[in-house]
């Protein structure tokens, strides 16, 4: 029987509707109350330190877990106090916690560059003495050698960071808001993925009411599973690390490497089983065709394409027997996959434009029929801001940012900075906002944009690689404003909360980084993930930052036009053939994600997808299972977060007070 053709927009909307079990709300209330303020204090002083520490230990910041931990504790407090929590308050807390965890990661660059400046890689690539003082103090400075972020040596890097943070807040709040008004109010784009986030706050707000619903049961099941898994994966290594020099890992973090085991029949293939089985929850939630096609493509890449086509034809030529997943991956990347990946990304951009440009044409024609579109009128009491004011704030933020970069790298051509700031950024952001508005995801990205720019500018100093660049994208953030609208949270309260939490996070983040750095050198055995990954990251960073030096770039040399063309054309062909044979376009996104990737990193997600598809849906029914999904995932994240934060807190305290005699 012939397959029915489904348009891409319809296809993605249909998936989004599975999660959208409630309509939007059109009455607005403030989410910022005294209770939320104290919740935010909790976030700033307890959750972010835990997430920073977790990121060093396991490579995961707990960014997904931390907000739910904060919210579940908040709702429990409300229940015990015989009061209720509104969904606006809970969403505000979710949002602030997410921002707190995310911003905690920004401070990590201080520690990274303090490590990087003294690495053998930085010395051998002659970078170490050329890293600007506004990034990190010199490698032999007291602030770096004594691991002391509070030393005056760090005043300049921290000062530059704070100024960037202030200007960035101006730009991102105003830029996102303007684009939200254009896409959500003027063009009435649906933002299909926004309701998913709103669902979590709804589920937990219900628990503080008089009647408990199924959501609380599902959330509790997820939480218990998360507690168990969190104890095995995070708790045991963290607690044993307090007492032993080498922490016990029941499951090796972050993966078990089988690359050398498969090299007999699949030379150049990589397979490192990622041991974070919490990823199964993503497998439950993600569309089954995406997970399956991603895994199958990755298996074909590593067991057929790499060993039997690319290796035999000497395209992958640097590999030698006995290499582990990191070295094999690096060589394969340099030999072929980096070039192929550039072409692949360009094909994604083109496919995105091919899908969105006809939509723009259609919207224009349908605008004349529908009276709703084309109006910038706002719903009452939403807490909107004057567009001219936001435009002015964006101009101030971006103007100041360009000035700051010009001060950092005075010899870099100003015209490039102005072009990126005032032409590229608005256009790029608008395209992304539209793809989020229609498809709920980003589809447009130009790879190696900085490298191409630096080549065109003929600027050869290395300091430009350390400076921020004004090629920004506010499009993804517009979805957050849509979630605010769906949860009925006033925009003014969100802005006030953002400004309120910022100083707390700035101060607590720097203090905690200082404290964690004081406990043990980073990387060291106490922080197994960074000990494994940072040396290879240092090599990669050296390769990247010297890629244009003297026109003798290892990376530029590794980029071959025929491989880039192969990546571009083959992916267009895959997309086209899927369309011709009427297969869902999301297969394409799975295939693109899987080409050249390590299938071992996808096993847990695949297990989750298979269990969901072949057991859970039959057990609960499709609609109920997709109602349970986000709540179960939230519960699991909450359980892992609770155990993670608890054990990490014990480890932090113990390491702070126990002096080992050996």
């Amino acid at each position: 029987m012939a397959r029915e053709r489904i348009s891409q927009a319809d296809e993605w909307q249909a998936w989004a509707q599975r999660y959208d079990i409630e309509g939007g709300i059109r009455t607005f209330e403030s989410g910022l109350t005294g209770k939320v303020f104290f919740g935010a204090l909790f976030v700033g002083l307890l959750m972010m330190p835990g997430s920073i520490y977790l990121s060093y230990v396991s490579g995961q910041s707990g960014a997904a877990a931390a907000p739910w931990v904060a919210v579940i504790l908040f709702t429990e407090l409300a229940r015990r106090s015989f009061t209720t929590a509104r969904r606006q308050e809970l969403y505000m807390l979710l949002s602030l916690t997410g921002a707190a965890v995310g911003s905690g990661m920004q401070y990590r660059s201080f520690i990274w560059y303090a490590y990087f400046i003294n690495t053998p890689q930085a010395a051998s690539y002659e970078i170490a003495d050329k890293i600007p003082a506004w990034v990190v103090p010199p490698g032999d400075s007291v602030g770096v050698l004594t691991r002391n972020l509070l030393h005056p040596d760090w005043l300049l890097p921290i000062g530059v960071f704070l100024l960037s943070k202030f200007l960035g807040t101006l730009r991102f709040v105003s830029g996102q808001y303007i684009l939200f008004r254009l896409t959500a109010d003027l063009e009435r784009l649906p933002y299909p993925m926004a309701p998913i986030t709103a669902q979590g706050a709804t589920a937990l707000a219900e628990t503080t009411g008089k009647q408990e619903t199924w959501r609380w049961q599902v959330f509790s099941i997820g939480s218990m599973a998360g507690l168990l898994w969190g104890f095995i994966y995070i708790g045991v290594p963290a607690l044993s690390g307090v007492m032993m020099s080498q922490p016990i890992q029941i499951l090796k973090i972050p993966w078990i490497d089988f690359t050398q085991s498969i090299e007999g029949f699949a030379p150049t293939g990589v397979f490192a089983l990622r041991t974070d089985f919490g990823q199964m929850l993503f497998g439950f939630v993600l569309p089954f065709p995406v997970v399956m096609s991603e895994f199958v493509t990755a298996m074909l890449s590593q067991f057929v394409l790499n060993p039997h086509i690319l290796y035999r034809n000497e395209i992958l030529h640097q590999w030698e027997p006995g290499l582990d997943v990191r070295a094999t991956g690096l060589f394969n990347d340099l030999d072929f996959w980096r070039s192929y990946g550039i072409g692949k990304t360009f094909s994604l951009g083109l496919v995105g434009m091919a899908a969105s440009i006809p939509m723009i044409f259609k919207l224009r024609s349908s605008k004349k029929k529908a009276g709703e579109r084309g109006s910038l009128a706002t719903p009452p009491n939403r807490g909107d801001f004057p567009l001219w004011l936001m435009g002015l704030l964006w101009l101030i933020g971006m103007g100041g940012f360009v000035w700051l970069i010009h001060w950092m790298v005075p010899n870099f051509p100003l015209s490039f900075l102005l072009g990126f700031a005032f032409v590229y950024t608005p256009v790029n952001s608008y395209i992304t906002a539209r793809t989020y508005g229609v498809l709920g995801r980003d589809l447009f990205e130009i790879p190696y944009l900085h490298e191409i720019t630096f080549i065109l500018s003929r600027y050869e100093e290395i300091d430009i690689w350390f400076a921020p660049f004004p090629d920004e994208d506010y499009g993804a953030g517009t979805q957050g404003w849509r979630v605010l609208e769906l949860t009925g949270t006033t925009f003014t309260s969100n802005l006030a909360a953002t400004l309120l939490i910022m100083p707390i996070l700035i101060i607590s983040g720097i203090l905690v980084q200082h404290f964690i750095w004081q406990i043990a050198p980073i990387p060291s055995a106490q922080y197994p993930f960074v000990q494994m990954m940072w040396p290879i990251n240092a090599t990669n960073e050296c390769l990247m930052k010297t890629s244009l030096r003297d026109g003798n770039s290892e990376i530029i040399q590794a980029i071959r036009g025929d491989y880039v063309a192969a990546g571009f054309t083959s992916n267009l062909a895959i997309y086209g053939l899927l369309w011709v044979f009427k297969y869902p376009s999301m297969w394409f996104y799975g295939i693109v994600g899987g080409i050249g990737a390590d299938p071992g990193s996808m096993v847990a997600r695949l297990l989750g997808a298979i269990i969901g598809r072949f057991y859970m849906i039959k057990r609960f029914g499709l609609k109920r299972w997709f109602m349970f999904n986000p709540v179960l995932a939230a519960g699991f994240a909450c359980g892992v977060g609770l155990i993670g934060m608890g054990t990490v807190a014990i480890a932090l305290v113990s390491k702070a007070v126990i002096v080992k005699p050996f």
Partner: protein, 64 residues
């Protein structure tokens, strides 16, 4: 238009295979194939968008 788009896409795909297998994989031929594929994909999407209201009456079924 649907058949035209399908035909162009298939021609582009065949040309890409030919360029890789028999023309040494030169980037020029590959990009020529990409140009043909791009035209086919754009025609496909324009046809899909502007044909949507005519052909689609009912909502799709889940394929999970």
């Amino acid at each position: 238009m649907e058949k035209l788009a399908s035909f162009i896409i298939i021609v582009g795909t065949i040309l890409w295979f030919v360029s890789v297998l028999f023309l040494g994989g030169s980037w020029q031929w590959q990009m020529f194939a990409a140009l043909i594929l791009t035209i086919g994909i754009f025609i496909a999407h324009f046809w899909e968008e502007f044909n949507e209201g005519k052909s689609k009456k009912d909502t799709r079924k889940d394929d999970n």
